[in-house]
Subunit: 220 residues, 2 copies
């Protein structure tokens, strides 16, 4: 949330209204084309109010909007993402992710903002880094939970798996942005989950439909 | 290759020199900042020569450079990509991909060009679509080859796996572009390959160490 000062409840509400209005504006016309005048008109605020809450002007406002969009990325994956403790929850998460990105289509509001702020600026990098860390942390917690109940092999490194799932989602989204279709995203999530699922401890009764994982090739 | 006319060998060589010089220029300073004057200076050609080979000027030239960069994306994965018929070859491919993108770092020349040409223009979309198709086709051929020799479960859908691997690579690269580190790319490739490897036909003896992701267990 960058530079939030101590605000009154009313002040916080106004600040939030400005952020949400700017978010909607950016989603409609892009970050570069969004002006403070547009934001004033849309949120029924004055320029002086905007500068009161965002002394750095448009750049500071866009950074706050990017932080808001980053929160939404995670929020839109709930309630599943924070509670990946069954295959049903993982499937629910998979569906939610696909739904979110299909809906956004070829527009990635956070990507647009990060690009506008400058992908390599410290502020943008900090924001991206934090989002990735939180996202991956929740996936890792989910993998660990599944390992504890014997649904994913305990021999796998949960952090590696979480990093891999992050890449899977990002790649699927990038290909959706480029092709307009969610095929890759769905194939990648389905494949990853099916393969993980197939690593479950072999002590349990096997479902013949599951993949024959656990068997190996001999090293010739 | 867009609008290549029938060229003499010398003409084809000049055209190629212009493309390669422009590619180097774009890699150094970006597509937007590259001018035809820069290209002339770098490739020892005149403006009239450039317009002879690229009557559409900078835009046509950048499109030809994008096609060249797209070819390089595939070429840089050879000789492995076209011959993914053993786990050694897959490992070689994995290493080559990681090496390529580590070397490029936070710069993606093709991405820069596609952005400059307009991500949603028909020409850019055709180029991206073709690259994805070829890339995915070669991965699919590799998966099929491994299924035929019993190294990947025949029950898996080779096209889904190939699409998933495409997303894995793209996601890893996107995260590399954003974080500057190849951790996600490596984790994602290692996880995908380890999980695929573990699906091999169950007739063979089991190796309890096999599921340990990242462990290189190939004693060839």
């Amino acid at each position: 949330m960058s530079t939030t000062k101590a605000l009154t409840p009313k002040g916080a509400a106004t600040r939030q209204r400005i952020i949400e209005g700017t978010s909607a504006e950016v989603r409609e016309r892009g970050a570069a084309a969004t002006t403070l005048d547009d934001v004033c008109a849309r949120t029924s605020t004055s320029k002086s109010q905007i500068f009161h809450y965002f002394p750095g002007g448009k750049e500071e406002l866009l950074l706050a909007v990017a932080a808001y969009e980053a929160d939404r990325v995670l929020f839109d994956q709930e309630p599943y993402l924070s509670s990946l403790t069954s295959w049903d929850a993982w499937q629910g998460w998979r569906d939610q992710v696909v739904r979110r990105y299909r809906k956004l289509g070829v527009h990635c509001p956070l990507g647009v903002l990060i690009t506008e702020l400058g992908r390599k600026t410290p502020a943008a990098q900090a924001l991206t880094g934090q989002l990735l860390e939180q996202w991956q942390g929740r996936l890792r917690a989910g993998v660990t939970a599944m390992q504890e109940i014997g649904e994913i092999s305990p021999e796998l490194d949960a952090d590696q798996i979480a990093a891999s799932l992050m890449a899977t989602v990002q790649g699927g989204v990038v290909l959706l942005l480029s092709t307009g279709k969610s095929d890759h995203l769905e194939a990648a999530l389905d494949t990853s989950l099916a393969l993980l699922r197939a690593t479950a401890a072999p002590a349990k009764p096997r479902d013949p439909e599951l993949l024959h994982v656990g068997a190996s090739e001999d090293p010739t």
